[in-house]
């Protein structure tokens, strides 16, 4: 019974299932939000999650990884993100109901009322400072900051992990080379975040919680932040062990775990497997199909989308804004697409030119 439950959890936490199911769960949550945000649904979910966490802590391997001092912030992150996401969606659903009934959102209904900052805000801040201080002191008294062996450049630990907040990027290294996962993606995340206010020209939903008025913006941002960032940080911290292999939450981190590497490049698929011939000598011929696919993805899709389901976007945003939005959107989706290709057909690289350090 217990073993069966563990096996199910281990199966579901494999990256392919964890990420896919989380994406589906988020879509479902947005779709059926009116019913799902209700505490009578969410309270049992919260209780079940807590129960899962407490019961799992009976397992030595699980307890060791979640109570590791530097991992406690990630447990906190999951709790806070979960609770605050619900709180935001709850207020959004309430506001959407008000708006549907011709009322202003709650925040606007409060709007004419201005209150003095002293004491209304100053006291909140003071209480917040006191609680934070007390919490930090208690945390610090009970949990010592770890200090490992002195730095030794000749002895690299396995696994070697980046700081926890970069583990989403390190997890991306499974699917992309460092120049993409470590440089281009982080760069585009920053550029993309800065660009948000200049792309999102929807005048509605400024200064109050809503979902109905900003469906696309909120869905895309939440998918990026919750699934592709927070969840990947969790995955990289809790579920990646030696050699960056996947280990279920109850599994011992065995350095000798062998995982067969069977990944195949697109060029090998096309020339060797499908056409039954040698890989061409010329790099450009060999990688031609990959270049064409990438080119089509980034250059042909935006106008195609503008003709179909993004028709309103092109009209509302104008040419430059629309293309910037489409590029950033497609780049973000590039990650889940590459993931799915890896999971379903073991695709390693779409374009593979190791001679130039140019692999996509």
């Amino acid at each position: 019974m217990v073993e069966a439950a563990k096996a199910i959890v281990t199966f579901l936490t494999q990256p392919e299932w964890l990420i896919t199911l989380s994406g589906i769960a988020m879509a479902l949550f947005f779709w059926k939000r009116d019913q799902l945000v209700h505490p009578r649904v969410m309270l049992p979910v919260a209780l079940a999650s807590t129960l899962f966490f407490v019961l799992s802590c009976l397992n030595d391997n699980f307890r060791a990884i979640v109570t590791k001092p530097d991992n406690i912030p990630i447990v906190l992150l999951l709790v806070f993100v979960g609770f605050l996401f619900w709180l935001a969606m709850y207020q959004a659903v309430e506001n959407d109901k008000r708006i549907a009934n011709g009322l202003p959102p709650q925040e606007a209904a409060d709007e004419p009322a201005k209150v003095t900052v002293w004491p209304n805000l100053v006291y909140t801040e003071m209480i917040c400072i006191i609680l934070m201080t007390v919490g930090l002191v208690i945390w610090s008294v009970f949990i010592k900051a770890p200090l490992e062996e002195p730095a030794d450049p000749s002895d690299s630990p396995n696994p070697s992990k980046a700081p926890w907040y970069f583990l989403g990027l390190q997890e991306m290294l499974v699917y992309f080379d460092p120049w993409l996962a470590g440089v281009v993606f982080p760069g585009l995340i920053i550029v993309g975040l800065v660009a948000i206010p200049f792309i999102d020209r929807n005048p509605k939903g400024s200064g109050y919680y809503t979902f109905a008025e900003r469906k696309f913006a909120i869905s895309v941002f939440c998918f990026g932040f919750l699934v592709l960032w927070v969840l990947m940080v969790m995955l990289g911290t809790f579920l990646r062990g030696p050699n960056w292999n996947f280990f279920g939450p109850y599994e011992h981190w065995d350095v000798h775990k062998l995982v067969p590497l069977t990944n195949v490049n697109l060029s090998e698929y096309i020339y060797v497997k499908w056409m039954g011939q040698q890989l061409p000598e010329s790099i450009l011929v060999r990688e031609g199909p990959g270049f064409v696919l990438i080119g089509l993805y980034f250059l042909a899709l935006p106008p195609l989308m503008a003709k179909t389901f993004f028709k309103n976007f092109l009209r509302d945003l104008g040419f430059i804004r629309y293309n910037l939005m489409a590029f950033l959107f497609l780049f973000m989706l590039f990650l889940p697409i590459k993931m799915v290709l890896r999971w379903t057909m073991n695709l390693k690289y779409i374009v593979a030119i190791p001679e130039w350090f140019f692999n996509i």
Binding site: F80, L84, A88, E107, V122, L147, E148, K161, F225
Partner: protein, 261 residues
Amino acid sequence: MALTDKLVSTVTESQVWKSIFRHGMPDTPRNQALAVLSNVFLHLHPIKARKSGIKLQYTWCMGGISFFLFLELAVTGILLMFYYRPTAEYAYMDIEALGDHVPIGIMRELHRWGAHLMVLAVWLHMFRVFLTGSYKPPREFNWAVGVILLTLTLLLSFTGYLLPWDQLAIWAITVGSNMARATPFLGHEGPGASLLMLGDIPLVHAGDDARFGLIAGRAVGEAALLRFYVLHCIAIPFVVMILISIHFWRVRKDGGISGPL
């Protein structure tokens, strides 16, 4: 009772008290306004604010918590600097000594857990600002400043990660900074770098690429420790303080605390 009242009035009516607090008890609207206006720290606030905008369920208080944690980290960080030498010879010993020589010393703990929390608080602050649409005009610029501050928060944490000079530190920074090797054109294992040749001489190699610039060497060593120490204690906090000032000032200038516009 009469005695305490007398004591209170003696203190609050003394010349010393009045020289510091130039208004009466903040129990009238006028004095509440003066309490905020005549205090250099509190005058970051307006005198009045939107009722909806200061509700905890609306703001989550995450921006304030981020700022509080920044101050907390500055204070604990300054104290730690008294006992820490950023050299390969002493760094680890000094950190170890902090644990061994100070009974119930918690400065390093306060600094480490506070730093983790600050990363978390800044992410959640961004999440809240996005979900309430508080980046929309006229607040676009302040959102951009916020994104830079978020990036700098991660860099502050990243540079601080190396300072204990233990195995976790050196290898986390090695893994992290290895990415810079693959920077297109600027890293020696990045695409395009091999195109940058002067005759037969590669312009971008392990001794001058982006990673070398970041860690001041071909591997994470003493030069990287000093570089990260200066970045962590002086350079990045300096920039962050300037940007925080702009961030707060623009909150006031761009329509005040978040709320329906």
